[in-house]
Symmetry: C2
Amino acid sequence: MDAVDVIAEVPTSARKRERGGGRDGRRAGQGNRPPNRTTPYIMRNIPTYDVLGEESLIRIEDTADRILAEIGIEFRDDPVALEHWKSAGASVEGLLVKFEPGMLREILKSAPATFTQHARNPANNIEIGGKSVVFAPAYGSPFVMDLDKGRRYGTIEDFRNFIKLAQSSPWLHHSGGTICEPVDVPVNKRHLDMVYSHLKYSDRCFMGSVTAESRAEESIEMARIVFGRDFVDRNCVILGNVNVNSPLVWDGTMTNALRAYARANQAAVIVPFILGGAMGPVTSAGAIAQSLAETMAGCALTQLERKGAPVIFGNFLSSMSLRSGSPTFGTPEPAIGSMVIGQLARRLNLPLRCAGNFSNSKLPDAQAMNEGTMSMLSAVHCGANFILHSAGFLDGLLAMSYEKFVMDADFCGALHSYLAGVVVDDNTLALDAFREVGVGKHFLGCAHTMENYQTAFWDSSIADNEPFEKWDTAGRTDAASRANQRWKQMLADYQAPPMDEATDEALLDYVERTKATQADAWY
Amino acid sequence: MDAVDVIAEVPTSARKRERGGGRDGRRAGQGNRPPNRTTPYIMRNIPTYDVLGEESLIRIEDTADRILAEIGIEFRDDPVALEHWKSAGASVEGLLVKFEPGMLREILKSAPATFTQHARNPANNIEIGGKSVVFAPAYGSPFVMDLDKGRRYGTIEDFRNFIKLAQSSPWLHHSGGTICEPVDVPVNKRHLDMVYSHLKYSDRCFMGSVTAESRAEESIEMARIVFGRDFVDRNCVILGNVNVNSPLVWDGTMTNALRAYARANQAAVIVPFILGGAMGPVTSAGAIAQSLAETMAGCALTQLERKGAPVIFGNFLSSMSLRSGSPTFGTPEPAIGSMVIGQLARRLNLPLRCAGNFSNSKLPDAQAMNEGTMSMLSAVHCGANFILHSAGFLDGLLAMSYEKFVMDADFCGALHSYLAGVVVDDNTLALDAFREVGVGKHFLGCAHTMENYQTAFWDSSIADNEPFEKWDTAGRTDAASRANQRWKQMLADYQAPPMDEATDEALLDYVERTKATQADAWY
């Protein structure tokens, strides 16, 4: 039986009724619409993948406790943080803080297990925690690249382009933060342009600056212009992603930003970035214990700044090539290690952030999607609620690729279907279809197929699924060249979400006034 | 802290001691040696990923039972099979066989949960069942392709080349079967050349022909020449992969071959190939129930032919693009559906075969490795013991790609590390390393790193992990072009495993005599 021969039997009119919509839908980079798209994020219908047993988890937790109690964590350039720790009963000697076993867990009980991040368009509000899964673009690359112009430093135009691409994709849920560094804007002012761009060109949730306490506060202030001061004090509308300076150091820049977000009742995302063998042990269990210790300390500090403030337990495990000294990404050890981090975060009852899709490749090639798919599936399996870096990374986190971005967004679409799991009910079991079709015949024309095929299967908008001969005569494209066409079309088709003029003017006025208070700084 | 800067502190002599070894190892396509390489297959150290609960599994099993009892399965052109079913108490009307609920499960109790397949070199014997995972090359493509010559029909030279590549890879465990169709050899004689090539150019386990009962028997006869008649009667030395003609038809060619393998105490692999919406329902739950029904019938037939014969529960779920009518591969629905198949196979206590790494792409590009990685990880997560199609497939199963083959073999290496899981013990928890390093310093030179780094991380032999500038000046290669260099080097370096002259002569004599008994047939 040949599927290609019998497809002709599906009436054309029925084929055209596809949700997500035919040629136009595909042109917009959508593919079809899988079932798991009733909320502006994903509610997972498959369990998390728990790889370690209770005994091993307890040993890792005990090790984290011993690291915290015996070695401690240094808090630099933030006297207020040290005061918080003293008041909470930690041992503080100089900059070094040591914690009795169990102390941080006790403090963390006030952090919510789930919270809502509000978007400018309430239809795009997201839940963070529980069974929810949110995909956000990659974050923090100094470079951008595409097939036409190669690699170069990112600009504010690139930054806006990626916001527009994310906003245009039905498979991403969040506008992200520093999608790429706009290096054509002064370092001390670019956060204002970035936050304005997120608010203006997207109506989804977004992230603010963390590179200085003042920039964090200014990011939040801009959110207050849009959402209102009281609303922001009562609801989360902005996230700030803060990194530990692993091993076992929290820099004041980060803790001051973290406290600014918490103080405003906004969610800090607490993320150690551990390259095993460099910023942590070369063995996964130790790196995971360290990650747990560092993250618990950061999360607890938010609760000391403001009890009950939302906070996200983050992680970024990575490996390195000890032959060349280069960090490696999308490798198996961090992929399986993230599953353990997920188990530990759930035992703390905190929402989990994981890093999604990244690769060391310098091109949107086979390596890029092998490493990217491995790491993204790990993020999905480990139960991450907020998956940063879901789309765009190449070059070992150093570059945002336009082509990789749309490939990854397409894969995020596939993951909507994947996370919907296998639904088991009378319709899906299809006993009537077997009765109708019998033995040795095909199911293409049967009633059950006609009723279900429109939402049955994910249909990628990047993949080529044509027979070889059709692909051959159509120009023998590879995925990268199709992605190149796609992002250009998406940018051409982009439509800005409406924003009322008064809000826009107030934002622009704030940006202008704030910029005027200081001279440009370029490093 | 910059990992690239501090790598210099690792003594050169220590770096050179790497297992799997430096430049030579890398040239042979090995990368480094992850921990999970103490057996000639993998013993998984992570649990399977069970996505459905008990109630849903029972509903699928009940549906399979109702399909078997109410609709039945047709057995064509095999009167002996019909006799077996009659004797076993099934209802047989014409070619249609119906089974009382529970009947097949009862018959299947005599099949072993685990068995050994013996290799010509006993060091390469594999276990199939339980926690073992075996990677075998892809199977059955009429075409081959490489970057130099594009796509063309496979030849016996291509066939031998892929055996040599598989034999040269430390990350594949099995020589496979019809790796590609050698279309320059007559259809009715090519199985003799294929089996001879597996035995001659590889010393690992392999598969025989199933395209006619006589060809299955001749494949087994050649195994007897190598292993001895009595040994073969008592031990599994050859597998035969037989396909259901879904929906609900077993063709006589296949059942005669499966009975030939079972009769000789060799393992048949029972595989429905269901494109949802064509050979089965468009909804996964129904396709899974059908797959279960068809596979149980095939597996049970081996037990009626010879009670206790080894048999493998196989499956191949796939989706189709109902827009174009093309089958699609590496898509999310079959990936998650395979996890359910795994749960069902374990409830039957049978070894599981799953399909590994496949894609619709016509090139070893980003699509190829996105779809391939998705499907291969599904095979690994679902608990498959024998993963056919672990390396090489492109073009929707129609072509074996030389470049994809070595990329996939490299990914199989990564999966050795992945399946080793996270080991939790005093060494990996590394508390002494934290004590040695303290806060804010790096782990590169510490004693724990020196003791563990050689086996800590998978290091791909295909991926580029260099900084951008080094990659740029080294020629800006993509993964496909590196793979192109790699397979050529592997073929140049290939060394045939020794075979004693008498055995070789006996095999060649058998091939010659058997070929002489009939005229060439070309279709």
